[in-house]
């Protein structure tokens, strides 16, 4: 899959996508390695070049805290959009589940570049809105299903 086919850079020409990619640096991760913790300051966005990243939330189970997966990101998908959304704090924990390679895009560099090329900025921010919107719709639906289940249990 080519860089401009990733969810963040979809719609850019290969040349324009390359100009975004040179802003970032590579980071290799071993299985189990944590990329960021819930509550960390979000300074960077990440594009998964290869491997898998699990996004988890902490949940108390039987008196202990467990990381429960809520989403998985794979090659050509981005994570860490909290870097572009105030208050710039990660709301999930991200962990590589296999050998993984990421492109790390510093927020300030990306914003500076997109401000200098507004036509690219529009495309990238539209892609970002779609990614955030999909997460929102998914969780809204899951939440409503759980509420419905709670109503059924109460009326049972």
């Amino acid at each position: 899959m080519l860089p401009h086919e990733s969810d963040l850079l979809a719609g850019l020409s290969p040349d324009d996508a390359s100009q975004v990619l040179v802003l970032g640096g590579n980071r290799a991760l071993s299985p189990g390695e944590v990329i960021f913790e819930l509550g960390d300051e979000a300074r960077d966005l990440y594009l998964v070049k290869k491997g898998r990243v699990e996004l988890t939330l902490p949940m108390r189970v039987g008196g202990t805290q467990e990381d429960v997966p809520v989403e998985e990101r794979m090659a050509a998908q981005m994570l860490g959009w909290s870097a572009l959304v105030p208050p710039h704090r990660f709301t999930l924990k991200a962990t590589a589940t296999v050998e993984t390679e990421l492109l790390v895009l510093p927020r300030e560099d990306l914003q500076r570049f997109l401000a200098s090329r507004p036509e690219l900025g529009l495309v990238v921010m539209t892609n970002l809105a779609a990614i955030v919107g999909q997460r929102f719709q998914l969780f809204q639906t899951m939440w409503l299903r759980q509420v419905q289940r709670a109503v059924e249990m109460r009326n049972a």
Partner: protein, 103 residues
């Protein structure tokens, strides 16, 4: 003589009002006493819980097994939610799954 009688009458009237007000207040307190037993002040530390008790595990269920079932549940719920988003309808929104938490 008349002003003196008026003064004494007013003093007696004031005293009577005080007595009645005090009696009424004491009477109300007595009436409220049974209800106060259930008030948060009487229940003490139960009003503020330091920690929410952990969810009860089923008999013979280890934490690992429960987390495994929870993972499966979340995966199935995400699949069901995605199916709804692909083709939204009231039926697909509440379509049931084979989640181990519900069966």
């Amino acid at each position: 003589m008349q002003p003196l009688i008026m003064s004494i009458s007013l003093c007696l009237l004031g005293f009577a009002v005080c007595v009645l007000t005090f009696a009424a207040a004491m009477g109300n307190k007595d009436e409220e006493e049974p209800a106060d037993v259930a008030s948060p002040r009487k229940r003490g530390e139960q009003f503020f819980l330091d920690e929410v008790p952990p969810p009860a595990l089923e008999l013979g269920d280890t934490a690992d097994a429960f987390v495994s079932r929870l993972r499966t549940h979340l995966r199935l719920e995400q699949e069901a939610a995605r199916a709804f988003l692909d083709l939204p309808s009231a039926d697909s929104l509440h379509a049931s799954t084979d989640s181990p938490l519900w069966h």
